[in-house]
Symmetry: C2
Subunit: 247 residues, 2 copies
């Protein structure tokens, strides 16, 4: 399983992904789910992937093939004019994988399941954020949307809903994403460390920060302990219902 979250803010974008992949409980591996396409000064595109690893790796390989193509008519993440084109490029790669593997997977009773977050900024545009579905179609974050989640999204959603605002600082959004990830890791064994945290500042057209967060990361350790403690404290400070016929 996977949990990935990305936030679109006034000041830029925050991406956080875990790295655990599993096929049954006895086969848990670590695969990175974060891919960065960067040409500093011109564009930065970050992709997070969730779902069937064979599909998501296939999509990344098709995108890499297109990047390496010498045909000037091939649209790829390096030459797409805008991020909408970039999301379409990812969606087309998903459809190509479906054409290749969809029927054989269906014959084996395996769902064709893969979702992608694609976000970043291309010079001439504001930062944009997309979610691409298994069918290759996609949606874009609007001013009402501060985030997209893919994979095991429910455990970590309440805290994001309560604190994110477009105007929050990137480092504060990173803190929120890490708390959301912590709640998910505690509730679902198949989401696990290390984490990839990528931050893109608006109008820089490059990665501002890319951090690999493992079990030794002091800040994440602090989050894990302090957030649980803060929740328990907040919980104990709220009054119990004294109108029940019980104590």
């Amino acid at each position: 399983m996977t949990y990935c979250v990305s936030m679109l803010l006034d000041s830029g974008l925050v991406f956080l992904a875990d790295s655990r992949t599993n096929a049954g409980v006895d086969q848990i591996n670590t695969f990175r789910k974060t891919t960065v396409y960067e040409r500093p000064g011109d564009r930065v595109i970050v992709m997070l992937t969730a779902g069937n690893l064979a599909i998501t790796q296939g999509v990344l390989n098709l995108l890499a093939e297109k990047l390496a193509s010498h045909d000037p008519h091939t649209v790829n993440l390096a030459n797409c004019a805008n991020l909408f084109e970039g999301a379409r490029c990812v969606g087309e790669a998903v459809r190509e994988m479906h054409t290749r593997d969809g029927e054989a997977m269906r014959a084996q009773g395996v769902d064709f399941n893969a979702t992608f977050i694609v976000g970043g900024q291309i010079r001439g545009e504001i930062p944009r954020l997309f979610q691409v579905y298994s069918a290759g179609n996609f949606v874009e974050a609007t001013p009402d949307t501060t985030y997209f989640q893919i994979g095991e999204s429910k455990y970590g959603k309440p805290i994001i809903d309560r604190v994110t605002r477009r105007s929050m600082a990137l480092s504060e959004a990173a803190k929120c994403a890490l708390i959301s990830m912590d709640s998910t890791i505690r509730s679902n064994l198949t989401v696990g460390l290390p984490l990839d945290l990528v931050i893109v500042r608006r109008d820089e057209y490059k990665v501002a920060s890319h951090v690999d967060i493992g079990p030794d990361n002091k800040y994440f350790q602090m989050i894990r302990e302090a957030w649980g403690e803060a929740l328990r404290e907040a919980f104990s400070e709220l009054p119990n219902p004294d109108w029940l016929a019980v104590r």
Copy 2:
């Protein structure tokens, strides 16, 4: 959709269920998901239901038929010797519904999906708590298990995981269940008020408290406001990551 949670504690049991049922967004109705079988001084059994309403109502009707039966060999919730038998009785009713409706539902592409929480205390036993699945099989809460959830369980799980202990007071557990419900209602439109809160105190063999919590309930209003505020405060008190190359 539905969210139901029940906690098994040293001092008794807490049950909380929402009451929203839907079949598509334009058809949202309120149906109670809480059923109480009580013979004060001898037994109290509380059932919460989730899943396909036709199945869960069918199961409740079959159980009521058995209760009304004059055949002394019919095991029902009124004469079962222990709660394990009671859970088996519920499981058998689920299987009877499957025999009646399973094939016709499959022909229409509708999942046979229904889950039940069955808990309470029968004289001669300690309080017990069971979860019955769509196949009519079931599991029992052990000393390591403080709770069962059915329905839309993920949004409200982190807070329960962090604060519940077997030794907590019933009113504190009720507060925890209500916070968990609040997080779920905020994240999923198809879970909604009114709520049914039922409390059973150990060795009383009756319902200690059964409260209908609607939008005017002052305590739940307080929980809704104060918990969000407490979370935001706890969030802002944790330091932002100053080791990122961003503010």
